[in-house]
Symmetry: D2
């Protein structure tokens, strides 16, 4: 049993963490913070928690928080995270950071897409927390950089092909679609119900989305050489879910059955990756609220392209579920503890 | 640890039962049936279950099922249930029936709203499974008649007022709104996405919905005298959830604070009923996927009417969650076992 | 052919006015205003207008606007309207005001629900613009107070019964449900997609919604005596539409066929009210984007109550469509000019 | 003024035709057919039409229909269309066929993707009805093959680039997303509200969708050489709309401004194509119910790829709106007659 804090609990990844942790048998949440809503009960912001998690939100005072927690989830915007994470580390706390601040190995690259990094010396120490790829390193980490939602779906979707060198890495196009919770909980006209409902759009077109360096870093590492991709995110009128449709040209002839076997073998023993049988493709509806990544494999014989379709819940496997999975690894708990909830369907 | 069967597993209450039972530490599901889909895996129908519940659907052969289960959930349409429940009972099995077949005490009333009852002798033996009202009887029952979704929300919403005789029972109007999963999973034009989305309508207007006798039976019992209500159901473009807005004229002057106190006292110790503070009202969004019934209390000073707003997830507290709650009671497990999952928000 | 201005064009009623007026053969929109977005093109705010209405938004300078328009639509929040309407009137302009500022006849009542009225002397001059009830007066008005969305649906729904004195006016309960566009286009967390989607809730419970005095004023006038009602609004996860379910006790025995005949006769010749045949009830989906009010009539024989279900598009018949209908009357155009667009279904 | 018939009026393209034609000043609909619903009023199937279009649905007897119409819209499934179109043509009627039956020039290709063609001799005579590309030929056609929804969005999206030979045609990937109305109005579990809502999925993955030969035929003609593409359709939880995100490698360096200029010039004078300014991208929400195709242009400098994002309403510009546009051309009416309705937003 450990005590944990959720720093930045008033966003959607915050409430998702609390939802999951409520059913985790080895965790007690002792502290939740929010600069904007300090003094209110978390269950006033999120009445779904009422009666089960009624903690009062506190200001973000790292030392006082560290006194009451062995592990801290930082569910803050980028920049806000790197302002407090060093303090937690110095106080010997473990940190699972859900922001982008420690995902890139290269401070210059971070500076290019975000802003100058405040503690670049920690980048080498942070472990990118995609358990299916880097489980052993995570187990020994003090600071886990929890992956972004788009990167999780795309990296898991391409890992087997890249690892085996089966695709032309210059041909990768990832066309990704996200539910609206990915945009966070801030009050903007663009995210109003009437602006989003019954509509579909692209955004960040033309290689400008901040998840690109993170995706390319991971794909390059898997491929063993530099990978540059085209990535276009879209907004789907639904609460949760990311589905990525990724295209690449195969370097040799394969059948769909070959692809399914490749993936099934690669992910053998992985509890949260489900490789679908030939001819079946995922829907975000089947992973809603669960920690699964479902992967379907298509082959366009006419063009020689593989089409990988991968689906996750952006708030669960794409954020808070994966964060708990990382916590489990870091703390030596069974990796699926508290994460066995199946998708809510319908 | 007990073995259970889910008879009629291919509908939405079926998959919801399997979702909940997957995380229940004292239950193993040994058998799932579906006449239409026998031979298929349940996870082919509901890919959300894949990898965790891949049982093959069987035909409904009661004796063979009973061999492998101590308790049977019958998630069948009305009539289909009363064709098999007697066999399960004879074989000394416990049954939680999610159909309407054993909810009414009076076979004539059942005949009037449905069709002639096939085993009226069992009506006296069945216990109406609303734990907050009838827990002790449920504990001793062999056959639990799991309440309908609308009746659950309305009965829990009115129980304190009726029990204390505080309202004029001739003035009760229940205006109820349900998500689309309440209509089941059969292929009808009316339930197509494009027919339902971005629209709102009433149905069963004029006192003709089959949940009426069930609601009136329960309200009458609570009031200690016959209660006749006006009830209008509506269809909301959402997957899950029922919200009932119930109006009645108060027999004496009360404040909103009085009402909140009355309900808080009445439901003290109840783990699944959350009475909201004065001025707060529920949303189905906050109970999505959970077993809670949230109740808010309004007072219209100008007209002397109380307005009770109650919200449940129709598939959880309104069906499968309550069925598991009843199973827990019947089997002597802690009542909240497997039911602690919080609402999925957003 | 007349020139009109739309003052307060950056909200949802503004863009709906522009959508309708674009197809109106007798109107040219010469001026659109928005304090917040002055200097931008209206089509940058609402790209649906692009290429057809690209006017630049101006500041609200009444005199300069009046120079270019014979009739002004004021689509402003309450209070903002009464700050400018007197100027337009003085300049001999006709005004259709979509705010609440001139709907109530009684300044004291306005003060009680809103704030002190700034020009109470105009209240007697303004005509409440519900054409089906008050067409002749509207035709002669300089200032039309365009009705609220809830009041439109409820008043049209009850008018025949009240006019004939067929119901006990102390028993009226209006349970109303609105799409999200009714909440306007301001950036509030409550109206974010993820807060609203897949959820349903009541708000303004207990006789506190500001549309109440307006509804009661109109119902009282129709009944020829004071009417006090219970009114509960709800929020439906859809863009547009209001459906009101209104209950009242009949004073004499009637059949459903009687009711349908009563309504059909009452609304004979009305182009925008469609009384549905016995046993049929409206859906907001069938009036989406149109100026219709669809009315279905139910009878609860068991309780002696009539149930009137009325549906409109809150932005069209509930706001901008009705405003154009009023403009047509005021200007002597055929009443349905520009308003013949049928509902967008699906 | 002409008389027209809508054959196959009981589907979503049928009701959309009737909605548009109701406001068309030069058209009277004299006849509507439906095999399944013959004898019912069309407004019983689609209450949005009530009071304005209450024609009784007839059986499909071509000769009797031809007596009452100068032009026939065939809104039938493929195969059903080619069973009746020859009769209409023999009777000297003009036909706008919304099915796939006359879109492909090559009967063998039709046979490969559909089934053997019943009147291949008509394929040479039919004109593919994409007015922006082939207006002059349409004007002289007796039989117009109205384009599919996906092909319309993709062909308009790529035409300028292909015509100018600016992209490597072997690199085209079209990732397309459609609202649910594209799946038609038949009662299938897959299209139920609860199966679709709050989920997103791919279908027809791997180059198997029947719109592919049509798309490739048109792109090849524009390019002047054979074009083979990868095409993946997806299902979006919304009623209407198609958004296609199309990727291709540029053959020479271009800026985003160059692209916008290229498209603006190419579509100069086109009333229904709106090329967006640099940095802006379309949403299906802004074309809902309108006949526009909105196109946004992105450039991925890092990979040398152009990204064309095009949005239409699948039922309007993607089906019935374009059919009316073709009728206007064929009949010599102004091309935008009856099609000036702006998008319904929100």
């Amino acid at each position: 049993m450990i005590n944990v804090a959720v720093v930045g609990a008033s966003g959607y990844t915050g409430v998702e963490l609390l939802r999951i942790l409520h059913c985790h048998p080895e965790v007690a949440v002792t502290c939740v913070t929010s600069e904007q809503s300090a003094g209110k009960r978390i269950s006033d912001l999120f009445p779904s928690l009422r009666g089960r998690c009624d903690l009062v939100l506190e200001n973000l005072e790292p030392v006082r928080i560290a006194e009451r927690a062995e592990l801290i989830f930082t569910a803050l915007p980028h920049k806000a995270a790197m302002e407090v994470v060093p303090t937690f580390l110095k106080l010997k706390k473990k940190v699972v950071d859900l922001s982008a601040d420690y995902r890139l190995h290269d401070a210059a690259e971070y500076g290019k897409w975000y802003e100058p990094h405040m503690n670049p010396e920690l980048l080498g120490q942070a472990v990118y927390g995609l358990p299916e790829i880097r489980r052993a390193k995570i187990a020994k980490a003090q600071l886990v950089a929890n992956p972004g939602c788009y990167p999780t779906s795309i990296t898991l979707g391409l890992a087997p092909l890249l690892k085996k060198g089966l695709i032309d890495v210059s041909t990768i196009i990832a066309d990704a679609k996200s539910g609206v919770s990915g945009a966070g909980r801030s009050a903007k006209v663009d995210n109003l119900y009437c602006e989003v409902n019954d509509g579909f759009k692209a955004y960040g077109v033309g290689g400008v989305h901040r998840h690109i360096p993170e995706i390319e870093q991971e794909l390059s590492e898997l491929a063993g050489k530099p990978v540059v991709i085209s990535f276009t995110p879209h907004l789907v009128p639904m609460d949760r879910g990311i589905l990525s449709t990724t295209y690449a040209t195969l370097l040799k002839k394969m059948t769909a059955a070959d692809l399914v076997k490749l993936y099934t073998d690669f992910y053998k023993g992985e509890g949260f990756v489900r490789v679908l049988p030939e001819g079946q493709f995922p829907s975000t509806a089947y992973v809603r609220g669960s920690n699964f990544c479902d992967i379907g494999l298509g082959l366009d014989q006419r063009t020689g392209r593989v089409i990988v379709v991968s689906a996750i819940d952006n708030l669960t496997k794409g954020a808070s579920g994966q964060a708990v999975q990382n916590m489990n690894i870091v703390c030596g708990f069974p990796e699926n503890l508290g994460l066995e909830g199946l998708g809510l369907f319908p």
